[in-house]
């Protein structure tokens, strides 16, 4: 393990690699600051640009983006009362009141420091958990892997709110994953005789369409400026902000722990983590009357959790190949494009690559925190970028990126088609993330399902002959029952 760490550190600091990390951080900060863009759009747009890179360089670039996005989002949340990314929404509660009181620097300093420390703690938890996960993964046979994927999908659907629509989106994602040549049965499936579909639907145009194009379409339809016109706040007192994060280190620690744990549950994500951490801090603090009016602990709690969630979210992504968020699904896409097979073998065979990602995340978190402290005022101006300029620019780059994958004009049309699908899903309130994660998991699920059925000679009941499988199945059922339990509780309360 230590050797792999040294190899990773050596690679990260060598040649052009550190520049890729810096580029990732800058892109992550920019995409995080502009409301509506976020990490998923950044990775989707950048993904085709990584084709010419070495796999490790692509991972470093993506690590830079992932480590910086949430910190960037805190700047617009504090200065403009417009969260850059959804998880930064909790930061607005106290961040913006602090700006109104002329304490923007205090809030920015506290957010950047808490975010950086939270990110580091999240990554450290990942480093501690990965060796254990590696051992656990080796116990898993095909039935347990199948059930693990089922658990991932069910928890994702429940966490995203509308369970029925989440499950439908999951089925649709699995169906899209079936399109193309079936390796097991040797049949062309669901291609409708269209030659373009023989190799299946490529993940890159799908991601570009569902996230980048659909978001731009949403921005076009909603119209108006991206960020509300905020005051040009003077940013002073960042030093006090940095110190306040250390003074409230208990809050940083609890926020980071909440972020890591919540982040590791597929689908729950940063928004729940930061809100949970915020409400935990507000409730557990003795003098909590200033929360919501400009208490710096509110900013610290939400930002520490928000950045710590990335380390947690990488646990199921790397260990089981089950992504927990849209960013992680896109990151899996990067791994697949560069010839890596996400899942247990990745942990065993490419330990140094995993450490490279961990180090990239760690460095990006600290680097982006420092950059925010230095350039917050300028970053906030980016949030005012004219949507009329942004929309055609992002759509053009998206379509060129979709084409670049295979040099196929069919991929351009596929990206536009998924842009339409993504927009309809936003409009009809179907979760896109569930669709994409189900699509990513379809191969893994089918392969393990078929292998299990061969092992069991077609006897379904043998799925319940193994303790791990039974536990995972029971957890899936329990997760599906959560909305019912909530409903019964609320009815009782009303009665």
């Amino acid at each position: 393990m230590f050797d792999s760490l040294l190899v990773a550190a050596d690679y990260l600091t060598g040649g052009i690699n550190l520049a890729y990390l810096g580029l990732g951080v800058v892109i992550g900060l920019l995409f995080g600051t502009v409301p509506g863009l976020g990490g998923a759009t950044a990775i989707a747009l950048l993904l085709p640009l990584t084709f010419g890179m070495e796999p490790e360089q692509a991972i470093i670039l993506m690590g830079g983006i992932m480590g910086a996005v949430s910190i960037g989002g805190s700047v617009s949340a504090i200065l403009l009362n417009t969260p850059g990314t959804a998880p930064n929404a909790a930061t607005c509660f106290d961040g913006y009141p602090l700006t109104q009181q002329g304490k923007a620097g205090l809030a920015i300093g506290a957010a950047a420091t808490a975010s950086s420390i939270g990110g580091v703690i999240g990554v450290l938890i990942l480093v501690l958990v990965l060796p254990i996960a590696k051992t656990i993964v080796l116990w898993f046979g095909p039935p347990a892997f199948f059930m693990m994927a089922v658990l991932g999908l069910t928890s994702l659907t429940v966490a995203r709110g509308n369970m029925l629509r989440g499950l439908i989106a999951a089925c649709l994602g699995l169906f899209i994953g079936f399109v193309g040549y079936d390796d097991i049965g040797g049949t062309e499936r669901f291609t409708g005789g269209i030659e373009f579909l023989w190799d299946g639907i490529s993940i890159v145009p799908m991601l570009i369409g569902l996230f980048a194009i659909a978001e731009m379409m949403k921005l076009y339809v909603s119209g108006g400026p991206i960020a509300r016109a905020g005051s040009a706040a003077r940013i002073t007192g960042t030093r006090q902000g940095i110190l306040s994060a250390f003074k409230n280190f208990k809050t940083v620690l609890s926020g980071s722990a909440i972020g890591s744990i919540v982040g590791s549950v597929p689908g729950v994500g940063g928004t729940v983590a930061s809100f949970l951490s915020y409400s935990f801090t507000a409730q557990s603090s003795k003098d909590n009357q200033n929360f919501g009016k400009g208490d710096v602990r509110g900013v610290i709690a939400s930002e520490a959790a928000n950045n710590a969630k990335d380390g947690g979210a990488l646990i199921p992504t790397l260990a089981f190949g089950i992504p927990g968020s849209a960013e992680m699904a896109l990151f899996l896409g990067v791994l697949v494009l560069h010839g890596m097979d996400p899942g247990p073998m990745l942990l065993i065979e490419r330990e140094s690559t995993i450490f490279m990602l961990i180090l990239a995340l760690l460095t990006a978190t600290i680097f982006s925190g420092t950059l925010v402290l230095l350039a917050a005022r300028y970053l906030s101006k980016i949030a005012h970028v004219d949507s009329a300029v942004l929309i055609p620019a992002v759509i053009i780059v998206s379509l060129v990126g979709a084409y670049a994958l295979h040099g196929s004009i069919g991929d351009v049309f596929a990206a536009a088609f998924f842009g339409l699908v993504g927009y309809v899903m936003i409009r009809a309130n179907y979760p896109r993330i569930t669709l994409i994660i189900a699509f990513v998991l379809s191969g893994l699920m089918e392969r393990n399902f078929i292998q299990s059925m061969i092992m069991f000679r077609g006897d379904w009941l043998k799925f319940f002959g193994d303790t791990t499988t039974v536990v995972l199945f029971a957890l899936s059922i329990l997760v599906l029952l959560i909305p019912l339990i909530r409903f019964v509780r609320s009815r009782r309360r009303m009665a």
Partner: protein
């Protein structure tokens, strides 16, 4: 703003569309061999059941709605329509003329017609956009961008 009935109707249309996809998927899966069709059939049945529940839920929601305002906001629908019209126009231009011509044409027309920007601004942004695409994709990454059916021949 869309009215409740308008949203329910849209939800019903989407649910019916999904139900038809699910039924189509299940029917097609039955034509495959045992090994190729096994898992799609398994998922297909679940998909059909869930889509059916959603259709029923949407129908119940429409019947339960008391105020029957069927007129959806014209502005919103119009913007959605023009948004996809822009995308379709871009795809058509791209297919015929290729990326390096479609990029400035699309950015310029979008900024001029949709956003009402000044001629100078339109020229500047479309020029910069094209240079960006050319430098990043053609010069640095050495991709051969699609030249369009008109010029490819």
């Amino acid at each position: 703003m869309t009215t409740k009935t308008g949203n329910d109707l849209f939800g019903l249309i989407i649910a019916l569309l999904l139900l038809s996809i699910a039924v189509g998927m299940l029917a097609t899966a039955h034509t495959y061999s045992q090994s190729s069709g096994f898992f799609p059939k398994f998922i297909g049945w679940i998909f059909v059941m869930l889509a059916l529940i959603e259709v029923l839920r949407q129908l119940m929601s429409i019947f339960a709605t008391k105020e029957k305002e069927t007129k959806e906001s014209g502005d919103h629908l119009m913007r959605e329509f023009t948004g996809f019209l822009w995308l379709a126009a871009l795809l058509a231009t791209l297919y015929v003329l290729g990326f390096l011509i479609a990029t400035p044409v699309f950015i310029f027309s979008f900024l001029r017609i949709s956003a009402g920007k000044s001629l100078r601004e339109c020229l500047l942004v479309s020029g910069l956009g094209t240079v960006f695409v050319y430098v990043i994709f053609v010069v640095l990454l050495e991709y051969r961008l699609f030249a369009g059916v008109l010029f490819a021949a």
